[in-house]
Every structure is written in C-alpha cells, then in structure tokens.
C-alpha cells in the first residue's frame, strides 16, 4: 500500500509537471506535415507505387527527366543535361550533367543511370511496366539501356513508341537515379539491394531519407549540395495522423505546418482562422463509373449512354464535393497537355429514358454499384443511386475496402464500379493504355491491370487510335489524336467519367513555397520556407 502511495505521488508530480503550458510552433528549420502515411510499404523507387511514397521519392531522387516545381508544365532534364533522338525515333542518347553527387558523396555516373533502369526491369515490380512496355526485359535490358561512355546513356526501344512518350516515362518514379556503388554494398543474394533500399535511400535529390518508422513518422534531411542549391528547410517531417480532426487541432495549435487530409467540413471550419490558409491543387485523379461489358444489360452501348445522362454531376460538385472535386468528363485530367476540358453531360432523365427504351429496358432493371468505403465514394454512389432511380434503374450499393474491391474488379465480378484512377506518369498514354486499349478481351488473357479489360470492353477503333497516338512522332498530331480518343470514349465504351480531384491543403500562414502538381508524385518540398 505504501509503495502504491509513492507511485501515486510520482504520477501526480509527472502530471503536474506535464501540465505546465506547452510551447507551440514547430522548429524554425523543419517543415512538419500531418498526413495519413499508412499506405507506405516501400521506399525503393523500383517498387514505389503508393501516393505517399510517390511524393517522398520525388524529393529524394533526381530522375533522368523531370518536371521542376518552378514550372510544372515543362519537361526538362533532371540528371540528363541534354538528349538526342535518333532519326528513326527509337534511340535516345542522354548526356549526363557533370559534377553531380549522390548523398553518399559518390559521383553520379552514366553507369548509375543505366543501372537504375536495368534494376527496375530486372526486379520487375509493379511500376516496371512503365519501362518494360518499350520492349525491355531482364535478358535484353543490359544491351538496350547502356552507358556508352562516362557521360552518356543510350536507351533503345524495340516497340514503335513516340520518343515524346519515352521522354515522359523517363520522368516517372522508376527513372529515379540510384547510387549503384552504395546500393550494391548492401546487396544480399543477388537482390540488387532490394531488401536494403526498401527502408533506405540512395539518391541525389533535394532530400535524403533519415528515418521511416511505419505508421509513425518519416524524416527527410536536406541535401545542402543539391544542384539547385540547398532546400529552404533543413528537415521535412511527415507525421502519421490518420484522424483528420486531430490534424486540424494540431494545425490550429501550430504543432504542425500543414494538414493534408482534412475533410470538407473541417476545411469550412478552418477558413475563418486568420493564421491558416487553404490552397487548392488540381490533381490527376479522375473519379469514374464503369459498366461491366459482360453484363447482359450493361453491355449495351445505349444503356451506358443512358447512365451518362443519369448522373447529377453539377449537383454533387456544388454540394458535398465542393472544393474537393470538379466536374470532368474525359479520361485524361484537365490542366495537362492534350486534355479535353469539354463536359457535354448533365442530368437529363428524359434523354436517358428514351435511350433505355430504345435498348429495350424502358421498364428498368436492377444493378449493383461496387465502390470504396472511404469518402466521397459512398456519398457519390448514393447520389447516383437516386438519379438512376429516376431513370427506372434500381441500384444496390456495396462498399468495400480497396484490398477487397480490387480483386473483384480484376476478376470482372462487378456490375457497375465507382472508382478512381490517376496517371502513373505524365503522358496521356498512361491513361489511354488503361481506358482505351484492350488488345485481348478474352477472360484467360488476364490483362488485369487494364481498365478496358476489367470491364470486358474492346473496340478496334479505340485500340487503333490509342496505338497511333502512342507511336506518333509529331507532337501536334499526337495531341490532336489524344483529344480525339477522349472524345470517342465520351460516347462509346463502358465509362461514365465524372470528376477530377482538387486537393485541399491547409497550411500555417507563414509557410510558403509548397508545390503540388497534377500528378501524385509532383509534390515538392525544396522551395518551402517559413
């Protein structure tokens, strides 16, 4: 009993001590972001495919080609200083910037650049398709991607791809330049350093990875010798705060500099705070519905066309989606090169009804809408359910976690799916390849990564145009072809494309220079000051 008393006194003292006023404000040289970072599973640029890590590796690794925060629209050389395209458009020779150094102090050599791409192909993780589509595989990549001398890397493609597309792909995460010498010091059983690079970094970018504690914190440290000069902050911290209201409190108390996952309600509530600024950044994520083509009714083009008229796009964008999503009805996000900004569809029940009648389903039918559990998907599904009912279609809604929903979708087990898609790299081909190009519609072809295949839809005209645009050498022609392809998919195909995301980020007033571009990995910390 006496011991308990002592313990009690110790606790009381601790509570009293702790209860003294707490200092607010984050350290002056550190940029602190609150974000849900539970999606992180790896830091290896050959494997990274998640939103949070896409952004993190963009700040750790310089890529062969890059979009820089100063001008997000223009593709420029990253590690490459210049490049030359062969007459047939199949070989690109990159000249590597001289004098660059990795965080380790090792020089950035042409060999590192070539090896980084070879490594991606040999490891063959999810994002590898971005470069393996050029015809590279584990056997030929050493020949097709190689350092010709100390300062030059030559890449050759075997497929008929436009060199513009190849250059764009060289700005994707898989084109991150990795420090071969450092990584190979940590190689185990020929794994090309895969095990080690999962939780370490070996880049030449603005920051290096100091710590990653899963579900807790990621700390990045500034690279003072970065080629654009030292970053504004010595340190960037991403703190895992999964609860949005906790993020809001932390921001209001100045314990963090930026909150990334606030809900529309919280954004509204925080607007009146003079110390906090909310910025909107158009993102590349589009929200779409798709109808399974193997469904006896949904497989009919008139029915899908009717669906397009049975969505209250504007009503949603003006109410519960306000600020977070804007109406967008083409597969390539607005604001980017070759975007189609026209929005021809609105809620027109009569048109939809006559279309359904001509398809022989005037008295309606029953379907299931599968969607994700997280906001705003259930809300969108409910709105769609209500407007479908006006057209006589009775829809059940089933919400599932992504890990449960995707296997169904990949196995074509849905009626209507309501989901999202964002480009893997900044080239329209990234989305066209998923939405418009399905070379083999047979079930056993298992093109499970392709949206058109998942929806059991293949169209020769769409396939052909997707390939033509992909291979087109002339930039102006290419742009026209992609716009045409998007127009085509507004009236054919299984999709009802609805919205484009606008990311709302709340920051303390004194924070400046944060840049978030349209693609998920175009987020830059290096110009941040406060």
């Amino acid at each position: 009993m006496i011991r308990l008393k002592h313990l009690f006194m110790v606790i009381a003292a601790a509570v009293f001590l702790a209860a003294s006023p707490v200092r607010a404000a984050t350290p002056g040289d550190t940029f602190v972001i609150a974000k849900d970072i539970a999606d992180i599973i790896t830091m290896d640029p050959a494997e990274v495919f998640e939103l949070t890590t896409g952004e993190i590796i963009a700040n750790i690794y310089d890529r062969i080609m890059m979009f820089e925060p100063e001008d997000l629209k223009t593709l420029v050389g990253g590690v490459a200083e210049s490049w030359e395209i062969s007459a047939d458009g199949k070989t690109i020779t990159f000249a590597i910037r001289p004098g660059l150094k990795f965080h380790s102090g090792n020089p950035v050599r042409a060999e590192d650049v070539a090896w980084s791409l070879q490594r991606v192909v040999k490891l063959n993780k999810t994002p590898a398709f971005i470069v393996t589509q050029f015809g590279w595989d584990a056997d030929n990549v050493d020949e097709l991607v190689k350092a010709t001398d100390d300062g030059h890397v030559q890449v050759t493609i075997t497929e008929e791809f436009s060199p513009g597309l190849v250059l764009n792909a060289m700005s994707a995460g898989v084109a991150s330049v990795v420090d071969k010498v450092l990584v190979m010091q940590h190689e185990k059983d020929g794994d090309l350093g895969y095990d080690w690079l999962k939780s370490n970094s070996a880049g030449s970018g603005a920051f290096s990875l100091k710590t990653w504690k899963a579900n807790e914190i990621v700390t990045l440290e500034a690279n003072a010798g970065y080629r654009h000069g030292a970053p504004g902050m010595n340190r960037v911290i991403l703190r895992h705060v999964s609860e949005p209201s906790a993020q809001r409190l932390l921001l209001e108390k100045n314990d963090i500099d930026m909150a990334r996952n606030l809900t529309p309600d919280q954004i509204k509530g925080i607007m009146g705070n003079a110390e906090i600024v909310v910025d909107g950044y158009p993102k590349g994520t589009v929200v779409y519905m798709a109808a399974n083509g193997s469904h006896p009714i949904l497989g009919k083009p008139e029915v899908v066309q009717a669906l397009r008229h049975l969505v209250d796009y504007k009503g949603m964008a003006d109410s519960f989606l306000a600020g977070q999503f804007v109406v967008h009805q083409a597969f390539w996000p607005g604001g980017l090169w070759a975007a189609l900004e026209e929005t021809p569809y609105s809620l027109e029940v009569d048109k939809a009804k006559s279309l359904l009648e001509s398809a022989g389903h005037g008295d309606g039918f029953k379907v299931t809408i599968h969607t994700l559990t997280n906001s705003p998907f259930p809300e969108i599904a409910q709105s769609v359910q209500a407007t479908l009912a006006q057209g006589g279609i009775s829809a059940d809604i089933v919400t599932l976690e992504g890990k449960t929903l995707w296997p169904k979708y990949r196995a074509r087990e849905h009626d209507i799916i309501l989901a999202r898609w964002s480009p893997d790299y900044v080239d329209p081909h990234s989305n066209a390849d998923a939405f418009a190009h399905n070379p083999d519609n047979r079930l056993e072809a298992k093109l499970t990564g392709v949206l058109a295949w998942r929806n059991a839809w293949a169209d020769p005209a769409s396939n052909e145009l997707a390939v033509t645009a992909r291979n087109e050498l002339d930039l102006g022609m290419r742009e026209k072809q992609y716009v045409e392809l998007q127009k085509m998919l507004q009236t054919t195909g299984p999709y009802v494309i609805m919205f484009q995301q606008n990311e709302q980020v709340a920051r303390r007033k004194n924070v400046a220079g944060f840049v978030s571009g349209s693609n998920f990995d175009l987020v830059f910390y290096r110009n941040v000051t406060k």
Partner: protein, 354 residues
C-alpha cells in the same frame, strides 16, 4: 478415525507434492501450447477466408498479372493452406515471426517498437483506474443510496458508456486546443523526436535513464490525455465492480459480527470487507489490464499514438498475415501472462489458496 484421515491426507499430500508440481507444470505448459496452436490456427484460418488479397496489398491494384503471380508464389500462397500453416509454425518455433508486408520489417522488430507505446499507455491507465476507481467504489458502497453513490454511478456511466473516440476529441479540444495545458496527438513534439535512443521503448523510462528531463516532461504531457481517457474507462469499470463486490460483503453476517464486536468502521471496511473483495478485484484488474495491452484502436487513432492496436488493425485491413499473427501471439502471451500473475496474486491475497 478423524486423526487417521488427517494423517493420511497429510501423507498423501507430501508424497504427491513433487510429482504434482511437475504434473501441474506440464499441465500449464501443455495448455499454453494448445492455446497458442489454437490461436495461430484460428487466426491463420480467418486470414485465409477474408476476401482481402494480400498480394494486392504488395503490388497495388494495377499490377500486371505476371507481377501478381510472381508475388503470389513468393508468399507461398500457391501451396495448400496446411503447408503454409506448418511452415509458419516451423518458423515460429525458431522465434521468427516473418516479415510484415506493410512495414517491410521483421514483425518482431515492429512489435518491439509498437508494443512499448501501448504498454506505457495501458499501465498508466490501469494505475489510474486502480488508484482512483477502487476508493471510489468502496466509498460508493459504504454510502449506498446516498449522493456519493449517485455521483460515482454517474461518473461510472459516463466513463463506461461515452464513446472513447468522442471523449478523446472533446478532451483534446478543451485541454490541448483551448487551454493549452497538455500536449496534443503523438508521443512527442517534433522538437524532441529521435533524440533519445529507444532502449525500453517506453519513452518515460528511456528519457529518465539518460536524464533528458525536457523530453520526459514532453512525453508525460503527451501521455496525460490518452492515459486519462483510457483511465476513465478503466476507472469506471473498476469502480462499478468494486462497489457491487463491496455491497455483497457488507451485507454478510461476519460484518455484522465485526461491528457488534466493536470494530471501528475503518477496520470493518478495509480489514474485513475489502480483504474479501480483493481476489475478485485482482481478476477484474488483470483482465482489464490485459485488454488494454491489446491496444485501444480508437484511442490510438484519435491521439495518433503508434501502438499495437493500430498496428494490428492496419495489418488486418491489408491482410498482412505475418503481422496479424505476430500481434495476436503477443496479445495472447499478455493475456496468459497476466492471468498467471493474477493466479499468483490470489495466493498472496487469499489465505485459503496458500
């Protein structure tokens, strides 16, 4: 006759003592082994019936089929489930819990990192519950039907029925956001993160060991709210149980006898009645502590507390079976350990068991 029986009993008792000790030890070991085999088998089976796809957790939803198939085989999912299970048990017997998908680290390392955060929280919450809850319960029982009893009942009801999630948010709003008395979500302010090397993983201990009192203060400040919230819940439960146990005892005849014999009220309550309540209370406290050690997902979420509850839940959502199994085993060990500890404490508290 009576004497001979007594002697007989004595003899058998002493003769049986060493062997019965061994037998009971074996019994404990066997039941432990069975418990864990059952635990892992059930968790394993549940993991396999869940529709979530562990492969997609690794490769993402757009992976081409060849990448998917490659990982499917790496995870050994192409083998029959019993082969997978036996393989897992084999690794487990070597102390290898496997590698987590979500954190890309050995599950054992993860648990060693997440568990201390929960341990810190659970221990303080339980202490709070015991140190405040028991006196409250006793006080209520003694004053049955009068206002102190009602106050305790209301506090108990609030603590037990108000959702922890909501209570946590409100507490943060008042004591952190408005009054600024305590620190907010997380275990430490960013100022202090990464300064103290984790030795025990319990920040208060680690900071105290190296004499970093600023960090100790900050960590304690971060602990106040989540520990109080969890503590309120524990306190409410323990107070309610103490009250009803005490009432049971206070209505017994031996209490009347004690009073008639002229024992002071203090002695009646604490020496007579409370002593008899102690054994039951130990059970309750042990179980409460064990359940807190599983981690409280809601509290951990509100307070951004990197504990074992969030870890297991997150792993479950992603069908990260190694992490789920590892977490389950740790929780199982806690439960069994604390139960054994309770058993030991019975012997101290209850003369009949001695």
């Amino acid at each position: 006759m009576a004497e001979s029986t007594a002697t007989g009993r004595q003899t058998t008792g002493s003769a049986r003592a060493p062997s019965s000790f061994v037998v009971s030890l074996l019994g404990v070991a066997a039941s432990l082994a069975l418990t864990f085999i059952g635990l892992t088998a059930i968790t394993f089976a549940i993991g396999r019936v869940m529709p979530a796809d562990p492969v997609l957790a690794i490769v993402g939803d757009r992976a081409p089929q060849d990448v998917y198939d490659q990982v499917y085989q790496q995870l050994g999912l192409d083998k029959p489930i019993y082969v997978q299970y036996l393989r897992y048990l084999g690794q487990l017997s070597k102390g290898d819990l496997g590698v987590s998908i979500m954190t890309a680290r050995p599950v054992m390392d993860d648990i060693l990192r997440f568990f201390p955060a929960t341990l810190e929280l659970a221990t303080i919450a339980t202490l709070l519950g015991v140190l405040v809850g028991i006196p409250m319960g006793v006080f209520a029982a003694v004053n049955q039907g009068r206002w102190p009893d009602h106050v305790v009942r209301i506090v108990g009801l609030i603590g037990y029925s108000v959702p922890v999630f909501w209570l946590g948010m409100v507490a943060l709003l008042i004591f952190y956001a408005k009054l600024g008395w305590v620190a907010g979500p997380g275990r430490l302010d960013v100022y202090y993160d990464g300064i103290v090397d984790p030795v025990s993983g319990v920040l208060l201990i680690d900071a105290a060991m190296v004499g970093e009192w600023d960090i100790f203060k900050n960590a304690a400040s971060h602990l106040v709210l989540p520990a109080s919230i969890l503590g309120t819940f524990t306190l409410a439960y323990i107070a309610r149980m103490t009250r009803s146990f005490m009432l049971d005892q206070l209505n017994q005849e031996y209490i009347l006898t004690a009073r008639v014999k002229g024992a002071s009220e203090h002695a009646v309550i604490w020496r007579h009645a409370f002593r008899n309540v102690l054994v039951q209370l130990i059970t309750i406290i042990g179980l409460t502590y064990a359940s807190l050690l599983e981690g409280s997902v809601l509290t951990e979420t509100v307070f951004a507390w990197p504990g074992i509850g969030q870890y297991i839940t997150n792993s479950l959502f992603n069908n990260d079976m190694n992490a789920v199994l590892g977490g389950t085993i740790v929780v199982g060990v806690c439960f069994v350990g604390i139960n054994m500890l309770s058993d030991l404490l019975y012997r101290l508290a209850d003369p009949r068991v001695r």
